[in-house]
Symmetry: C3
Subunit: 261 residues, 3 copies
Amino acid sequence: MKFNGRNVFVSASARIGENVRIGDNATIYDNVEIGDDSVICNDCVLGEPLNVYYSDSAYRNPPLVIGPNALIRSHSIIYAGCRIGDGFQTGHRVTIRENTEIGEHCSVGTLSDIQGDVIIGRYCRLHSNVHLSKTSSLGDFVFMYPFSVLTNDSAPPSADVKGGSIGSYTQVGVHAVVLPGIQVGENCLIGANSVVTKKVDDYSLAIGDPAKVVMDIRKYVVMGKGHPYPWMYRFDRGMPWQEIGFDNWMQQESHKKPAWS
Amino acid sequence: MKFNGRNVFVSASARIGENVRIGDNATIYDNVEIGDDSVICNDCVLGEPLNVYYSDSAYRNPPLVIGPNALIRSHSIIYAGCRIGDGFQTGHRVTIRENTEIGEHCSVGTLSDIQGDVIIGRYCRLHSNVHLSKTSSLGDFVFMYPFSVLTNDSAPPSADVKGGSIGSYTQVGVHAVVLPGIQVGENCLIGANSVVTKKVDDYSLAIGDPAKVVMDIRKYVVMGKGHPYPWMYRFDRGMPWQEIGFDNWMQQESHKKPAWS
Amino acid sequence: MKFNGRNVFVSASARIGENVRIGDNATIYDNVEIGDDSVICNDCVLGEPLNVYYSDSAYRNPPLVIGPNALIRSHSIIYAGCRIGDGFQTGHRVTIRENTEIGEHCSVGTLSDIQGDVIIGRYCRLHSNVHLSKTSSLGDFVFMYPFSVLTNDSAPPSADVKGGSIGSYTQVGVHAVVLPGIQVGENCLIGANSVVTKKVDDYSLAIGDPAKVVMDIRKYVVMGKGHPYPWMYRFDRGMPWQEIGFDNWMQQESHKKPAWS
């Protein structure tokens, strides 16, 4: 049904793995490497050139490396100069700019916009319309919800930018804003529509504008759901502890590397 | 000018009505049914397959039914498995996922993102960038403004989601967030940037984070505009009471079906 | 690498300047004029017809004029009936509707949505996902950040709309909302997530929901950055005072035209 080879462009210098399907109207530019068993849906652009391409006739596209088992949904644009781990998934119309590093098994939702020079750990989930400004960073197992934003300029406009950072296992709610350079710790929950203006320690529930830490997340009770945090003991879909449980997974030698590696 | 038949793909199993125009680069997959006199603009994808398509070789695309007189603007993506009533319109780059039911004469604005398993009544107007999470529902004549969101997960991440619901005739302001499972009544106005954390009764004006009901909407005065609510007595563009008035329309036998049907 | 002439459509009535590069899958409709040395990237649609096109067989596309040295990034849609000055740049997937006038050297970021009947001065910078409703206006050197919105309907829904206006040199923070018809003065800074509900005078720092003026921006101190405002004395990238300084530029005869011209 899909993948008819209609109007596809693949650069001669692209390296396409085994059993990769490429959708109609897709464009794959120079020096793109796609791992085995990946699906690139229709109308995607991979290896989008950097700005300098338009003015420098000697421009050479830096590599874009996408690991195996990717599912890049339609109309997504990923720039040259990114490195993305195994099992990557996107929604539609995602934009990922240059010099972004994304760990294994992440997903980036429909309309999300990663501005470049961003570091994202393993197993992160960006829902729709997440905006990460340049120099932002996420740990591992971070979830960000629609219209959440990491900003990077404390006195706009300026050339002196520093993105926020989100610790592993933290959840950032819809419409939440993290101000420039602010660090949010691990295992936090940032409430919907909050504005995070200062450092948030591990295990905090922070809400409001400006966001205030209202309690230790481990004491947080949700009606009908008991103490839902840390969430790793009750949610495992797509997580490496699926079927074995979080504690067992934590004890496996292979996963003892630090979360922020 | 448009509709040159350039690079169009239409599945053999699609059923295209009379006098339907299909734009360049459009893709119409299996089992899509488009009603008479519709316009499908360039670069649209109709009948986008569900996730299981990528892994199941026996996959069969569920039907997408779009009623007559649709105007689907360019670059929109509508998944298989949706049912959409007569007179549907979209802006550009709309995404509508599977199992969404949309009543007659609705419009969904540019960049709006309907996540699937959503029910939308008749004559609803979603402006740009509206986000409806899975299992959300809207009554009839609901208007939602840019960046408004219905969420569905009260302890993210979880597999136990329940979207919000918005009653008929209600207006949801820009950047407003409705928390998971929360019901907003009929004929309400939710102010810009509000966060709705608990049930809102009919005829409420609710504003703030968390949103508070500040008055009965019928008492609300806007400078130079008197008492603008209920709005159906002063606004009728595209509404079924156009030219005859709301009260007369309400008394017509044909429209006595309940608004939430 | 790009610009292979694959699947390009250019109307016979379009006027394409010297040394213009047009990307694959681009569509340029009737009466579009593109200035010299411009780059139109892949999948763009220029001269998108107005709504009446779909119903009026005698429709004639109004002109779209784009000045020289434009760089329109991929998947952007610009309607017929707009006039855009020299040195225009866009991100990806920008939508600009009819009757929009944009001065010289502006940029409009990825996913921004300009609803039409909008006036934008010179050297404005719209970051990603900025939403300008119909009849909004910006002065010169205005910067708007992600998810900021200018609204236009004080009693929605209505046919009586009036957009907000932003004075020259003003910065509008992420997720900020300006309510309908509200004027924000020159040289202001509107904080992240603010809702501007009434007129803001020149040189104000306004924050909160509803936004309150907390100080004269010239007294604002940012840790490690001293007094960063007015910003024109410390930031000049792409600005006309680059290399000569703001005061010198202000004294040049050629730039003594009023900022809001």
